[in-house]
């Protein structure tokens, strides 16, 4: 593993998420979790674009497979490495964004949070305009209610990912 892949694996561990990439749902969860970690100030070097399921980074998918390849060979490429203390602390705080429960629920919540954050920060959709954000998500066939969008915005602000 190179340093970026090591940092990625350590960040996923720091979020206390399993490093699973077997299904599309698993990989979508990792994509959105890493997006939120970066939004929270943990710089892992992945540049996201808006795809059909919200923010997505092809380079991250490639690195996920590279890490998985070493894991299959039972190589612990992270042995002897850690993230700086401040980033560890940021990840610890971000854990509360990840719901407990079924993977499907985790996926839905992280997809909503990451998508709303992306629309506000990168698309300059005004964060007070929950209706506009909800409509934009609907254009991408995302069935999130205005109430869910409002809750997501509140949670992003409370956790320092957006300013109030």
């Amino acid at each position: 593993m190179d340093r970026q892949q090591i940092a990625l694996k350590l960040a996923v561990d720091g979020l206390e998420l399993p490093f699973e990439i077997n299904s599309f749902e698993d990989r979508l969860i990792l994509q959105k979790a890493v997006y939120l970690a970066q939004a929270g100030g943990v710089n892992l070097g992945y540049y996201y674009q808006w795809y059909l399921h919200g923010p997505y980074c092809p380079a991250l998918t490639r690195d996920e497979y590279a890490i998985d390849y070493e894991r299959k060979q039972e190589v612990d490429g992270c042995k002897g490495w850690k993230l700086d203390d401040e980033s560890e602390e940021r990840l610890r705080k971000l854990r509360k964004l990840i719901p407990e429960g079924q993977r499907r629920e985790v996926r839905r919540k992280l997809e909503l949070l990451a998508s709303v954050h992306f629309l506000v920060k990168r698309r300059q959709v005004h964060q007070n305009d929950t209706a506009e954000i909800t409509m934009t998500l609907k254009r991408f066939n995302k069935d999130f209610s205005e109430e869910e969008v409002g809750n997501a915005l509140r949670e992003l602000v409370e956790n320092g990912l957006l300013t109030g």
Binding site: D2, N43, G45, Y51, Y69, G80, W81, E86
Partner: protein
């Protein structure tokens, strides 16, 4: 060679790979900007010319070639019934021309500096303490992000492209944003992308090796488009498709991972990482991603070329740090790191233990002692593991997974994750299937295989060089055995 035309096209460039490339007026304006001309100062293959002396072609030539490949694909697609609006075609041509505008000096070598592990970080310490990666620091953006910044922020390019809106549309295509047509965007990024079609042919031709000589004419003649606008190849072109995929694999083995080229590039990577991490500003190596982003949106971009790295190396030959000086002098005077041992492994990716892993483990546990014994700074040993998959396989979902997916989900997944997938039209089928579903394909048989090289180099220039190198080789000879 460039000449003027009077037939609706503005200029003609004669290219060694694609022959005549007819340029439109707007393309000529783009090429004539200082931002684009910078590509003349970026070698396509970084340090490969140190081994293959004629591999001195530039990102400029490759970018023109990518346009040439795009023109040929668009013509073939139209011949096969795809209708593309003129503006969309023009944008695709511009995207092909500009797809590499964001490359760093020495290309991937500098772009990936955040990924570089220094040797002392690789090997085990006597009293282990965890090494920290500073995730507060922003990372160098990849060349596609840099390209989008340049295309949308450099005034000369924005003007030449035709304004901000159009510049953004062009950048969206080569950065694969959702606003671009997925199938058209795929022309640039998938396994049969224009980038690969040109670089395989051009790198192969320039280096003087035959391994990248793909059958582009046969591939183009057998392109087919389905009623759902899926692009693929007729099954009679299967061998040409397999060759295209294997050509990439062989070019990695022979050129990109050549032991001398890779050793020199690894020395340069480690040098840049060491200088980047320092606090002093003497070398002007951007300290983080934010500094790169600022640089590429300013006029400083024009001097962000191979000469920038060469200047850093030249100055570093007189650095006060022994390791920095040794690395810089090896590069400056072309005294490549000496390969002490290489373990080549071609195995199923699922295979857990092999000689390469054993070798790397021994390097991590024994190299510090070896360096002390021979009184050579640890930083002058270079450990690397270049790796290439025979093909880059898409996810192979199980039947159960597919059965649970909604139809729309399957299509979306194809867009997000299967950009590498090549589609084949079997017999008279209207819609193509994935190459990975063709059981008799050679590359499918080897899709789960990876080729990896585990290497240990040393930089040593003492008067007893030959003797020391031989002794070191003898010491590590059996490090691939448990």
């Amino acid at each position: 060679m460039v000449s003027s035309l009077g037939d609706g096209f503005s200029k003609l460039i004669v290219d060694s790979i694609h022959g005549d490339i007819h340029l439109k007026e707007r393309e000529v304006q783009v090429i004539d900007t200082p931002s684009f001309q910078r590509l003349r100062q970026l070698k396509q293959l970084a340090m490969a010319q140190l081994v293959y002396p004629t591999a001195t072609h530039t990102r400029f030539a490759h970018s023109i070639g990518a346009l040439g490949a795009m023109i040929r694909i668009l013509e073939a697609a139209e011949r096969h019934g795809v209708s593309i609006e003129d503006e969309q075609k023009d944008n695709l041509r511009l995207a092909a021309l500009l797809h590499d505008i964001g490359h760093y000096p020495y290309s991937h070598l500098m772009e990936k500096v955040d990924r570089v592990k220094l040797t002392e970080e690789e090997v085990e310490e006597d009293t282990p303490t965890a090494k920290a990666i500073d995730a507060r620091r922003s990372k160098y953006p990849d060349h596609e992000e840099v390209g989008a910044l340049i295309v949308t922020a450099q005034a000369d390019l924005v003007k030449a492209i035709g304004g901000e809106e159009r510049a953004k549309a062009v950048a969206d295509i080569f950065t694969r944003r959702e606003t671009a047509d997925p199938q058209l965007s795929k022309l640039i990024h998938s396994s049969f992308d224009i980038d690969r079609w040109d670089y395989l042919l051009r790198d192969s031709y320039a280096a003087g090796v035959p391994y990248g000589q793909i059958d582009i004419n046969y591939l183009l003649n057998n392109l087919k488009v389905s009623p759902q606008r899926m692009l693929g190849f007729k099954d009679k072109a299967l061998a040409a498709v397999e060759h295209l995929l294997l050509a990439r694999f062989f070019m990695h083995r022979v050129v990109y991972y050549h032991k001398t080229i890779y050793g020199m590039e690894e020395a340069c990577r480690q040098l840049l990482r060491r200088l980047r991490d320092r606090d002093d500003k003497r070398y002007h190596v951007p300290k983080d991603g934010e500094e790169v982003r600022r640089l590429v949106q300013s006029e400083a971009l024009y001097t962000f070329t191979d000469a920038f790295v060469e200047g850093v190396v030249r100055e570093a030959t007189e650095d006060e740090d022994d390791a920095v000086r040794a690395l810089a002098r090896a590069i400056q005077s072309r005294r490549p790191p000496k390969l002490l041992k290489e373990v080549a492994v071609c195995e199923d990716v699922e295979k857990k233990t092999h000689a390469g892993r054993i070798f790397m483990q021994n390097c991590r546990s024994k190299l510090r002692g070896l360096a002390e014994e021979f009184d050579i700074p640890l930083a002058q040993f270079l450990l690397c593991e270049p790796y290439v998959r025979v093909v880059k396989p898409p996810e192979k979902p199980t039947f159960e997974q597919v059965a649970k997916m909604e139809a729309g989900e399957i299509q979306k997944r194809a867009f997000e994750e299967e950009e590498e997938d090549i589609k084949i039209f079997v017999a008279d089928a209207e819609e193509p299937i994935s190459l990975m579903e063709i059981e008799h394909s050679l590359v499918v048989k080897y899709a789960d295989y990876a080729f990896q090289l585990f290497r240990l180099y040393v930089i040593y220039e003492g008067s007893d060089k030959e003797e020391i190198i031989e002794r070191l080789k003898a010491r590590v000879k059996d490090w691939d055995k448990s």
